[in-house]
């Protein structure tokens, strides 16, 4: 078993999918001989050839439209958008076609495609490279939205996404690409979609996070433990469809909930989670829900980015407020 970074785990899952299923085709900008700007497809062109690992012209709309067309014919396109800030031209096809093709044809055609792209910031990148628009994607019917928080999750969830018979947007936290290693077995086992994972049990409050923020939430948990506060951490993993049961069961036990995300506050996916608590978790709530999020501003360029994104300290303070309440 190998110790892999998240980007290597992505690479491993892609290689596995290409080996297992002749219908899997990879395409995107610079994913061929170059191996992708983050090396997620490194070596795949060399191993599987230019028929299955294909560089596209520089147009995201092209990538989205090709994926839809190919998927209707039963291929399993797995395409890469180089950075999430360039995904907007793909939304037309995701919203108007990928998520609707099965409904529109009453099951005659489907769109088993995966769109992979980066997620989140704090990598000192230029403008547009640090966005988190999972909430936009999670509002569109017919799509799954998945985001791993570790190399192992990346491997298992990406395999699941590729095997899923419907469209999945797979968001890879840029900051985690090389942040740490984990043992990842290339066992071809998919992780379950459509569910959240309680990664750390606790009794005083529930900390909900996804992607890179999951590590910050865990770091906050460690600090809080020193103050005698026991936080349960949930890794959302599949944002849509959202596993409300795991959330509600946890908050029923803890009575308190802090939600963390990098995306702007207003209309972020944290709103959906808080809304579910306001609807179905009210009797459990001993304190107001808190969201620790990016601000409702443009993500700043690198010199100010630290001031924008939630960090351990902001999470801890929110947890402390929630614990002090009432």
């Amino acid at each position: 078993m190998a110790e892999l970074t998240l980007v290597q785990a992505v690479n491993l899952a892609l290689a596995r999918a290409l080996s297992d299923d002749p219908d899997v085709v990879l395409f995107g900008q610079d994913i061929g001989i170059h191996g992708g700007v983050f090396r997620a497809t490194e070596g795949l062109y060399q191993r599987f050839g230019g028929r299955r690992v294909i560089d596209t012209p520089l147009d995201e709309m092209t990538i989205g439209g090709l994926a839809v067309g190919m998927a209707t014919q039963g291929l399993k396109p797995v395409c890469e958008i180089q950075f999430i800030g360039f995904i907007y031209p793909v939304l037309d096809n995701l919203a108007n076609h990928a998520g609707r093709m099965r409904t529109r044809t009453r099951g005659r055609l489907s769109c088993p495609l995966v769109v992979r792209t980066t997620h989140g910031g704090l990598v000192r990148a230029p403008e547009h490279h640090s966005d988190s628009i999972e909430a936009l994607l999670a509002h569109l019917p017919g799509l799954r939205v998945v985001i791993p928080s570790s190399p192992r999750q990346a491997y298992g969830l990406l395999l699941a996404a590729i095997r899923d018979p419907d469209p999945v947007v797979f968001l890879e936290p840029t900051r985690l690409y090389r942040a740490f290693r984990e043992e990842v077995e290339d066992d071809g086992r998919a992780a379950p979609l459509d569910r959240c994972f309680v990664t750390d049990a606790g009794s005083d409050l529930t900390l909900v996070a996804w992607g890179a923020m999951h590590a910050d939430a865990r770091a906050a948990r460690d600090e809080l433990a020193k103050e005698g506060i026991s936080a349960e951490v949930i890794d959302v993993a599949t944002l849509k469809p959202f596993d409300a049961d795991t959330l509600l069961a946890s908050v029923e036990r803890t009575g308190r909930c802090v939600i963390v995300h990098e995306a702007a506050r207003t209309g972020g996916f944290g709103a959906e989670i808080a809304a579910i608590l306001a609807e179905r978790g009210l009797p459990s709530l001993l304190a107001p829900v808190e969201r620790v999020t990016g601000y409702d501003t443009v993500v700043p360029m690198p010199r100010l980015e630290k001031a924008y994104f939630p960090d351990r300290q902001r999470i801890i303070e929110a947890c402390e407020r929630v614990m002090r309440y009432g």
Binding site: V25, R51, T56, P57, D59, M61, T62, G64, G65, L66, A67, V68, G69, M70, A71, T72, Q73, G74, L75, P77, D92, N93, N96, H97, M101, R102, T103, R104, T105, R106, G107, R108, L109, S110, P141, G142, P165, D166, D194, P241, F242, D243, A244
Partner: protein, 365 residues
Amino acid sequence: MQPNAGRDTVAATFEVRRRQYLDEDGNAVADLPAAARDQTLLRRIYRFMSLSRALDAKFVSLQRTGRSGTYAPAYGQEAVPIGLASAMRETDVLVPSYREGSAQLWRGVEIADLLQYFAGSERGQAWSAPAVRRDLPICITVGNQALHAAGVAAALKYRGEDAAAVCVFGDGATSKGDVYAAINVAGAWALPVVFVVTNNQWAISTPRNRQSAAETLAQKGMAGGIAVLQVDGNDVLAVHDAVSEALARARAGDGATFIECVTYRLQDHNTADDSTRYRDPAEVEQHRARCPLRRLRAYMQLSGMWSDEEEQAMVRQIAQEIDGAVERHLDAAGEGAQAMFDHLHAELPAAYRGQRAEAVRRDHG
């Protein structure tokens, strides 16, 4: 730029060629292709063009009487959908816009399906006939289908199939970034796809000249380095021949073609439109003489392939066929509310079961 002999050299030259076989009265203006002597083919072509026209009238009247929804007739441009459909094989894949119902019928979609669809039900696109099983559904979002067709073609090529995709869109659609992107990737990847522009001169109220300063729409294909051709879109022989040739090239691995069919939209854009608001009825009148049905019928009658008696019989038959379908299928029972959830995903995720239950409860409540 102004050519300047003193300094500039010529880097590349291009031309757009134009194809036409029959004049307005059905007389040959060029050496006719073999298809022109294929009586069985021509009779079928003429029948489907006539069916298209009759069905248009029916859909417009159903809409007017509140029995069907918004409908976009193909009146006057029937040579395009039938010309291209008749050039396709079963194994080819049709990627249409919303004005090619007749091409879909040619390939095996049933009148009943169109009735369902335009009466507002997705069921009208759950086709099962062999040729249409993998055809793409109607595309309402103008131009999106061009890249879908490129993707379909990429899949056909990937699997080494002896087949190609045929994509149809309007003059307005040629302004869309999607259409250019599709041309470009079809060229770069040498995809087996034929793009057919139905240049009917209007995109709702916007005339062809306001869409683009390009002298022809055909030349848009040059931007992606693919083969281009302009065709008299009211001459079904020319459309059939051009698409046949392009399909043969595509299947042989010789790449994509962009064909502009020049025709004219003789009616309103759709049943919600009133074209007298923005175009001169005199312009429309001028184009009536170019009617593609009239032209083909004239040619067939001149060549002894068709008679007035056959015409009358066919008209009767078509009317019966349509009326029968309307009677049997228009008022088919609707789907229950659970249908919204049935094909959202292959299997309904647990998260939505509560919503489905609510919808079903209300439906029966």
